[in-house]
Subunit: 356 residues, 2 copies
């Protein structure tokens, strides 16, 4: 018997097993998080690229707008810059800067390393749920989280990673199938150079069979069909990212939303060209031309740091051809802006109809 | 309300919406097809590599062993050999032949072109269901099929292909997600050089929304969870391949079955190295070393034709490292041989429990 009252609803104290993915880089505004949580799902702030001060402010703003639980998503991978091949990669980036009429101004770079501070702020501010990508919290952080009764969620792409996450003390796991938009959460790029790409329908039951903690399905879920399917596979909830990119409250650039609404299941590719880590996004001029150069991007986050000015200029010029248009494979039905609360409501209603 | 009594059950006149995939090259023995059909599913003979005489014999054997419906799967792509780069590719294959202690005996090759004859035999012998990979039947063949009330099923990997299949007159569509083992059914390798790789959970609802004929989900489905999930996504049935490879009645080599039982969700890759067309299989010595050469395989079916002796020698030597070990991404739960009828029964029972 499939029920929407799952272990994840109990664990997170939410009405519906719908988690809005904590997408870094702008889409997850305070309003989006608040609307999703107020609608009975779990809103999640994508904090990975947020300076600590801005994160603290955003958390306070969320807390003042809702009494409901919410999550904050951070990256759990050490920041290890490597600019040794900077010159070579800058050469490959230079045509893009010319096209955008900007100049390479910096000669030396350093990526910010905020994850420790971000975690501490979440603890101080009493964030109820913290989720991580790329790996697990440190033992010390996990101890702190347990003491503060913060629930920890780890996103994984393989069964082996799920076991590591469970062993680290995680309270729940997000099983990220290959359909998912944005960064692949694979822990080791040595083991999975392009990120592990196991389909959601395949990954979820295999993770469910391997761990004793609740599993949240992610990747390709945009409606009630995906929710019920995920529950049938043994998941206790779903994480939805791409559909919320197109929500009214999303902070995604207008041109990004328009590209999303025009895209279909054939539009995306997995690329390292923007950040140095494999991520799924809508194929555009930047991805195509950068990959044609054959130049290997710098490792994450260095590549992300040096392409920042290009993405900023693209945003200013309303030009989606140079933006990172992260999106999953289920975009055909997304054709216009919808309020986040309406998305939650619709997914729940659709699921209820399917369950009869 | 999810029900196992679907439009596919009515169309194919079967008890359960479970189609055993028509895997070419040996796994789908007469016994396997008969057992699956007798258990209430739809057994399918993978006839693509079968000489017309052998096909006719197999069809007659199936018909004498069961009165239930069954299917025959053929390739619907023109055979266009191209051996212009033969010498270069043979050089890359020569270390494998040395390792297997065989010699390159032929200096000229020609791939058999049986699909027309195969189709005609199916019509003559009154096969109730014909399914195709790589494309649709010709208009003439479709007309013949309609006249004979043969049901036609086309396997697709994108929405655009699904629309082509529907327009060709197909009675049902198999939506093949990226999890699926064996050849990607993508119609055009110009458009999808590595085959379209859209996850099953993402592809199925988008195909369902786009066509008016019943859709069968394929890719990563091995149990009742996958069946119910597929029905929730809007499919009217499922196609299961990999799990039947490991069935008692499967004709897969013993070493192939053992490799399957030891594999997990990280074991497979999509490769053109065996056949020239992208296909998902368990990574082994042959795939790894051939791809390391950087030599582009000949196009399909020429590459398949020239690697035949290597695969035959590997079979003789019980060496899975040189066999094409086609498999999907859901192999963790497959650990030993199970009777095909038991597989059908178990999947149905599991689904019933989930549906409550």
């Amino acid at each position: 018997m499939i029920s929407m009252e799952t272990a994840i609803c109990q664990l997170f104290k939410i009405d519906y097993p719908i988690i809005q993915a904590g997408m870094a880089g702008g889409p997850t505004t305070v309003e989006l998080v608040v609307e999703v949580s107020n609608a009975g799902g779990l809103g999640t702030l994508g904090a990975a690229y947020m300076p600590p001060g801005a994160l603290q402010q955003a958390i306070k703003a969320i807390q003042s707008a809702t009494a409901k639980p919410f999550g904050v998503n951070i990256f759990a991978a050490p920041v290890q810059d490597d600019f040794s091949r900077l010159e070579e990669v800058q050469k490959a980036l230079s045509p893009f800067r010319s096209q955008l009429k900007i100049q390479e101004i910096e000669s030396s770079y350093q990526s910010p390393d905020w994850s420790e501070e971000q975690f501490n702020i979440c603890v101080e501010e009493g964030v109820p749920i913290i989720s991580t990508a790329f790996g697990c919290l440190s033992a010390g952080q996990m101890k702190t989280a347990k003491e503060q009764q913060i629930k920890i969620v780890v996103m994984v792409t393989t069964v082996a990673e799920a076991k590591l996450a469970e062993a680290s003390g995680a309270d729940a796991i997000v099983a990220q199938g290959s359909e998912a938009g944005g960064h692949r959460s694979s822990f080791s790029l040595d083991r999975h150079p392009a990120g592990a790409q196991i389909g959601t329908l395949s990954l979820v039951p295999q993770v469910v069979d391997a761990v004793g903690i609740p599993v949240i399905a992610a990747g390709g879920i945009v409606d009630g069909r995906g929710l019920v399917a995920s529950l049938a596979l043994g998941a206790q909830g779903v994480q939805i990212g791409t559909r919320f990119i197109g929500s009214k409250e999303s902070g995604a650039h207008k041109a990004y939303k328009q590209a999303l609404f025009k895209s279909n299941e054939e539009s995306t590719v997995v690329t390292k060209s923007f950040s140095g880590r494999p991520a799924r996004g809508i194929k555009n001029h930047f991805i195509e031309k950068f990959e044609q150069t054959g130049i290997v991007p710098l490792p994450f986050p260095s590549q992300n740091t040096i392409t920042k000015d290009i993405r900023a200029a693209a945003a200013k010029a309303d030009d989606p051809e140079f933006m990172s248009l992260w999106a999953g494979q289920s975009t055909r039905s997304l054709t216009e802006e919808v309020a986040a609360a309406e998305i939650v409501r619709t997914v729940v209603e659709e699921a209820k109809v399917i369950l009869g």
